[in-house]
Amino acid sequence: MSRLLPTPTLSLVLLVVWLLMVRSLEPGQLVLGAFLAVTIPLLTRRFWDPLPRVRHPLKLVRFVLVVLYDIVKANVQVSLLILSPRREPHPGFLEYPLEVKEPLVITLLANTITMTPGTVSTNVRLDRSSLLIHVLDMEDEEALVREIRERYERPLKEIFEC
């Protein structure tokens, strides 16, 4: 089982993407999708670094919902900031010390930060010690670091158990 399916999550994602692309649930497409989902990870196996497994899928679902809610909130905030020319935003840079070291988790965290309220991740230290973030409207630096840590980094750490 583990030799045929070294990365079950990747296989599942490939199958779902295939079915969405061909837009059908016919048995033929299912078989073809399953074939692709098995062969592509096997062929590209040597390309991947060992990826951390998702240990708690339910927490992942919860995390995705939190992030989606934050994306909507972020958009409303940034839109209001753009549309109210009188209020000058205070931009700033912030160096966020990373707790996680897994490349995949850092990537997910950086992506999440970019999509959420007023922050864009700009640079990761190569030794993975910190993440440089540009903040559109910075009021309280420490509160922001705490919020990112509690809201995004801790859940990601729990999901992948690293």
């Binding site: 993407v17 994306i71 753009i82 931009p91 910075m138």
Partner: protein, 145 residues
């Protein structure tokens, strides 16, 4: 009948909201003062704007054609993966090019070390040539009059 009216209202609302978000995202490019602030508009506003429009599209085709249309989810998925990565690369390039910030930018950019920039890992040719413009060395030397 009432169902269709409600669905129509929801779809129209989503389309208008999507348009507004995409528009303000683009407006941010015009209004903000430096490169890094301008990045905030397109990485966020457009994501939700296009997200709203895709949900509206899914609803519209699901209701009118009476079968599930979910392939728009793929667009959303790829957009959510690629938009932050593009933003990150743009911001990183801006840092490396030492673009100026507006006055009043708080915090400081820590000096980029060689290993962050990648000079220790990636070998670059000492003299990079433009792909199609002839380099200076290749131009014919002008004859002294």
């Amino acid at each position: 009948m009432l169902f269709y009216v409600i669905a129509e209202g929801v779809i129209a609302f989503l389309l208008v909201a999507g348009g507004i978000f995409a528009f303000t995202g683009s407006l941010g490019m015009l209004q903000f003062k430096d490169f890094f602030m301008r990045l905030h508009g397109p990485t966020k506003g457009t994501t939700l704007g296009i997200g709203c429009m895709l949900i509206a599209s899914m609803l519209y085709f699901t209701v009118t054609q009476r079968e599930f249309h979910v392939q728009e989810l793929l667009i959303t998925l790829f957009l959510f993966i690629t938009a932050p990565v593009t933003g990150h690369m743009l911001a990183k390039t801006g840092l490396h090019m030492h673009l100026r910030f507006t006055t009043g930018t708080r915090g400081s950019v820590p000096e980029l070390r060689d290993e962050d920039v990648g000079q220790s890992r990636v070998a670059r040719p000492a003299k990079a040539r433009h792909p199609w413009r002839p380099g200076r060395q290749q131009r014919k030397p002008r004859l002294p009059r």
